[in-house]
């Protein structure tokens, strides 16, 4: 027990929380934007898988990080565009469409990976690039805080900046106001001249962009290659985090950090030769408990909405 506590209250642990939480922060923010737009999208898993693979393929063939990131963004966002087209224009059932795109993400990436590298498990045969870690000048010299905050992958810092950007976008900009009003009450929004479908489409594309960054981090930072089904439910955890945060930016960020800590904890426990299966369950169980805790709040919200609709 002491060993566990020692390993938790160490700078390495807090460092690893940020490292592990980065993809979760990205996808939680993506889910948050989409949730504010009033769309139920579960396709993040597929988006992230495609963007992760795109980043590997793009950077391996061009030997340029920028091309890798662009290809990753392109593939990831095309998934969110497909989702948006079918759900918003063709009026599809969002959950089923999301499920289909996740199946596509799981099988389609393996299909592409096999055609390109001849391997179905991982992309180690491709010489893809990684995004480097950086030290932050002044902060790195501060004891404790420097060890925790400095030396991360560039995308980890991008994730933290994205928190601020999303906060401003949702709360301080006209676009954010439009997205929220469309999510809150589409009829009212339409009556004051907001184009509902267009706004929801924009929200989904912003979500796709942010989620794709998370996918790119997975294959260019967290790991230096792509492995099949490497998201392992992170896309769904992001949805859970945005639910837990009640659609607000800072609580959602906190929820993402909470899930990240659970995952970092499970990584530590595994190295201490505790049954790894039990520890791997931890992040999912924490998510489930979180869903139950926040359920009550949501109930009030939905009742309010129903009343408004009537």
């Amino acid at each position: 027990m002491e060993i566990i506590l020692d390993s938790i209250f160490s700078t390495e642990f807090f460092f690893s929380v940020l490292r592990v939480a980065t993809p979760l922060i990205f996808v939680s923010l993506a889910a948050l934007v989409v949730k504010n737009g009033g769309v139920m999208c579960i396709a993040f898993e597929g988006m992230m898988l495609f963007s992760a693979l795109g980043a590997v393929i793009g950077s391996a063939f061009s030997q340029s990080r920028l091309v890798g990131i662009l290809v990753g963004l392109l593939l990831g966002m095309s998934i969110s565009a497909i989702f948006a087209y079918f759900v918003l224009v063709l009026n599809s059932n969002g959950v089923l469409t999301g499920l289909a795109l996740n199946i596509l993400g799981s099988g389609g990436t393996v299909f592409m990976l096999y055609l390109i590298s001849g391997d179905k498990g991982s992309s180690t045969a491709l010489k893809s690039l990684i995004i480097p870690n950086v030290d932050i000048p002044i902060i790195k010299d501060i004891p404790v805080i420097g060890e925790i905050l400095s030396g991360h992958n560039i995308l980890t810092y991008v994730a933290l900046i994205t928190v601020v950007v999303v906060y401003i976008l949702i709360n301080k900009t006209p676009l954010g106001l439009r997205i929220r009003s469309v999510g809150e009450n589409p009829h009212a929004a339409e009556s004051v001249g907001i184009k509902v479908i267009k706004t929801k489409f924009i929200a989904l594309m912003i979500g796709g962009f942010i989620a794709s960054l998370g996918g790119i981090y997975m294959s260019m930072g967290y790991l230096p290659f792509f492995t099949r089904d490497m998201m392992a439910g992170r896309g769904f955890m992001g949805i859970a985090a945005s639910n837990l945060g009640g659609g607000l930016t800072i609580p959602t960020f906190a929820a993402a950090l909470l899930f990240g800590s659970a995952e970092a904890l499970s990584n530590i426990m595994q190295s201490l030769r505790l049954p790894s299966e039990f520890m791997q369950m931890v992040p999912y169980i924490v998510t489930l408990i979180g869903l139950m805790l926040v359920g009550g709040n949501n109930k009030k919200l939905t009742f309010k909405k129903e009343e408004k609709n009537e």
């Binding site: 139920m40 579960i42 497909i82 079918f86 224009v89 063709l90 009026n91 599809s92 059932n93 959950v95 089923l96 469409t97 499920l99 289909a100 795109l101 199946i103 596509l104 799981s106 099988g107 389609g108 393996v110 299909f111 096999y114 055609l115 179905k120 392992a232 439910g233 769904f236 955890m237 949805i239 859970a240 639910n243 049954p275 299966e277 039990f278 791997q280 369950m281 999912y284 169980i285 998510t287 489930l288 869903l291 139950m292 805790l293 926040v294 359920g295 009550g296 949501n298 109930k299 939905t302």
Partner: protein, 364 residues
């Protein structure tokens, strides 16, 4: 107005047919880009599964577990609760069955029954959790059920690894199932097992339960209009919970039957995906268990076809996922082909009016 109903129903079928056609067209397009010898590859994909008794047997084997998960999903989704836990129920049901089949000694007639029941009960619990979380805490069932799948995976792997693992197996697997527990084969040349009969019985049960019984009617009514069901005096929460439990029970039985019929030890390392396949089949069958065997057969056929193709050419099996995804996307889109449908409905209505007018004029 009868004509309009007829057209509506026709288009439900037409839309499914079109979706399948589009999916296959996309698959063939991909094959022709990817493969060095597209014609031979496609021949293997389409005709391959029927070229030997062994392969036809394969289709039936692949189809058997899908019958269970699909009927389970039909019942769960009819109440309009999207519960993805059928995947976890299938997996953990299989583990529970393996535990009973490995640990206890029983006479041969009873052993499979008890093992399968254990799988079913575990499956019911797994699918019941998201429903209870939804009813009690209003937690989103889609997200909670997907999280539960991962919990099931790791819990199952833990049980296999620490409780019933056979150290002599050489790989991660349980002890061999007791001979008394294994389901007998039906035909000598294939692995088709008694599970097929059980599966078809489940389909018949599912059809009468969901489409013909009062209980099933309540479930479907809740799915169509929850408020109406509530105000007409139905106990919505009880029915909602019951149909998730029944659906989970059936999915759990599926995992059990698959283990006892196809394997002699538990050896899954990850979720097999049959629960998600069940969702696709249920959508194709329009949540009516009557059409589940046909839809399962179709999925099993393209899966075996893709398998034959992958062994004889350079196109990987994962093409099935692409086909599955495209089919679900198109079937789930309400407005796909809607314009065509409306034009036909308008025309039919105009015709009826014209006829009616003619009659009126004639009588006058």
């Amino acid at each position: 107005m009868n004509k309009v109903m007829k057209i509506e129903n026709q288009f439900k079928v037409i839309r499914i047919a079109f979706s399948i056609a589009i999916a296959l067209a996309i698959a063939f397009l991909i094959i022709s880009f990817v493969s060095d010898d597209p014609l031979y590859t496609m021949y293997n994909f389409i005709i391959g599964p029927f070229t030997s008794i062994n392969r036809i047997g394969n289709i039936i084997e692949v189809m058997t577990p899908l019958l269970f998960t699909a009927v389970g999903v039909c019942i769960m989704y009819s109440a309009n609760m999207i519960n993805m836990a059928s995947e976890g129920a299938f997996f953990l049901g299989g583990v529970a069955t393996a535990y009973v089949a490995v640990t206890y000694t029983m006479p041969s007639g009873i052993h499979p029954i008890i093992s399968i029941l254990a799988g079913g009960i575990v499956g019911a619990i797994v699918c019941g959790i998201p429903a209870i979380m939804h009813i009690k805490f209003n937690a989103l069932p889609v997200v909670s059920s997907l999280m539960i799948n991962y919990v099931c995976l790791y819990l199952g792997l833990f049980i296999v690894n620490y409780v019933i693992r056979d150290p002599q197996a050489g790989y991660m697997a349980s002890y061999k199932f007791a001979k008394t527990a294994i389901l007998p084969e039906l035909f000598s040349k294939t692995n088709v097992h008694l599970g097929l009969i059980i599966g078809l019985a489940v389909v018949v049960f599912g059809y009468y339960f969901l489409m013909r019984s009062k209980w099933g009617y309540s479930i479907r009514m809740i799915g169509k209009n929850t408020s109406f069901a509530k105000y007409s005096g139905m106990n919505v929460t009880a029915i909602l919970l019951s149909c998730q439990l029944i659906g989970g029970f059936i999915a759990g039985i599926g995992g059990a039957v698959e283990q006892l019929g196809m394997y002699n030890r538990f050896q899954y390392q990850k979720l097999p995906g049959h629960g998600f396949d069940g969702v696709m089949i249920a959508i194709l069958a329009r949540y009516n268990p009557k059409f589940v065997p046909l839809a399962s057969f179709f999925l099993a056929y393209i899966r075996v076809g893709a398998d034959v193709m992958a062994r004889t050419s350079d196109v990987p099996v994962e093409i099935v996922s692409i086909i599955q995804a495209v089919i679900i996307i198109f079937v789930a889109s309400e407005r796909f082909l809607e314009g065509w449908k409306y034009r036909r409905i308008v025309k039919a209505t105009k015709d009826t009016h014209a006829e009616a007018e003619k009659q009126v004029v004639g009588e006058a």
